[in-house]
């Protein structure tokens, strides 16, 4: 398992169906961020956990298809999370199709577990928030508008008073800088 930690997300997912532990490492790497994504968007920690569990179950189910897509692993995972959230809002409940098909047990949680989920969400989001805050103003504004508020590039360009192309570049530069800072922080 230790050797798996040195692999990239994409390499882990490519091994996913052959080496179950690779999925475990991928999960460990991103579970905090996924919980942090869901927690502020739902009413309670248990629902956030439910969504997180279903997201990873769907990812596991989709690993075979991922392997031919070549998409960045993390972006792919968050696309699943986002779709699940949209679907859950629409249906008014969290789907459990993937977990049911994979025969995964339903998680029962106690107060300690709920605290743990809140901690994980806070830890993951606060770390990223600090890094986002450290970005130059123009990049931070573009990144927040596009990623957090999900503003379209056309609307973003209008609000920034720039061209759409420049708005895209700002977001792209913001992500690149954020990633670089994040990796530097992990390396410490």
């Amino acid at each position: 398992v230790q050797a798996l930690h040195s692999l990239t997300d994409e390499q882990l997912l490519e091994r996913g169906l052959d080496d179950p532990q690779a999925i475990g490492v991928f999960y460990t790497r991103h579970v905090g961020a996924v919980i942090a994504f869901f927690r502020p968007r739902v009413n309670d920690a248990e629902t956030a956990l439910d969504l997180t569990a279903e997201t990873f179950a769907r990812a596991l189910q989709g690993v075979a298809r991922y392997q031919s897509s070549g998409a960045p692993g993390r972006a792919w995972l968050f696309a699943i999370a986002r779709n699940l959230l949209t679907d859950s809002y629409r249906r008014g409940r969290v789907a459990n199709d993937a977990r049911r098909r994979l025969a995964m047990s339903r998680m029962t949680v106690d107060d300690h577990d709920l605290e743990r989920i809140e901690e994980a969400a806070t830890a993951a989001s606060s770390g990223v928030s600090e890094l986002v805050d450290s970005l130059p103003d123009d990049l931070r504004e573009a990144l927040n508008s596009r990623i957090v508020d999900e503003t379209s590039y056309a609307d973003l360009a209008r609000s920034l008073g720039t061209s759409e192309s420049l708005a895209r570049k700002r977001v792209s530069r913001g992500i690149a800088l954020l990633r670089s800072n994040f990796e530097r922080r992990l390396a410490k």
Partner: protein, 200 residues
């Protein structure tokens, strides 16, 4: 006491192990459903375009209703029927040859680039695709599990109507925006639809 997140990881790893050995009949069945669904979508799109010389005029061409039949690459046969949908829309309804109502899928839309398209397919109880409604924008997904299909390409050539088209769902950065492209046999784009990023 084991951490709740560790328990979830262990459960996931165990599921991955079961999946690796493919001993779970539900999983095997699930994979088959994917193939069937993709074939059906391809059939629907193929027929959708095949019936019209000019894509822009497809709504009018199809409004009167047409029926075609196809065989998916999985070997299952389907009936493809064109029906009018909401005002200004055209629907493709794909039904299994046994007529089972739960095994049908469809595709509705205004066939002009940039105009919202609603698409759906059901296999059993699974809602597979959905697009936009007049007042909201949802994410287009492909796959009975709702997993975002970042580069799903389907192509089925067996027993389909005379002209065969491939459906490509492409994405950029986590499936947003989504582009659905229909290409003819020569690879030329005959219709393209771009989905806007989802907003909640």
């Amino acid at each position: 006491m084991t951490d709740v997140l560790d328990r979830l990881r262990d459960d996931l790893v165990a599921a991955a192990a079961r999946l690796a050995t493919q001993t779970d009949p539900q999983v095997v069945s699930r994979r088959r459903s994917h193939r069937v669904m993709r074939s059906k979508v391809t059939i629907a799109c193929a027929a959708l375009v095949a019936g019209s010389a000019a894509v822009a005029g497809a709504t009018e061409v199809f409004a009167g209703g047409e029926v075609d039949r196809g065989t998916a690459s999985s070997g299952e046969t389907y009936q493809v029927e064109v029906k009018p949908g909401q005002p200004g829309e055209t629907c493709m309804v794909v039904t299994a040859s046994d007529g089972a109502p739960t095994r049908s899928g469809g595709w509705c839309g205004k066939l002009r680039p940039g105009v919202p398209v609603v698409a759906w397919t059901t296999v059993g109880s699974d809602l597979v695709l959905y697009g936009t409604t007049p007042d909201s924008v949802a994410t287009v997904t492909a796959g009975a599990d709702g997993v975002a299909d970042t580069q799903a390409r389907t192509q089925s050539r067996e027993g389909l109507p005379a002209k065969v088209f491939a459906l490509a769902i492409e994405s950029d950065q986590g499936n947003t925006p989504v582009t659905i492209t229909l290409r003819d046999d020569a690879g030329a784009v005959v219709w393209r639809y771009e989905e806007r990023p989802p907003r909640q």
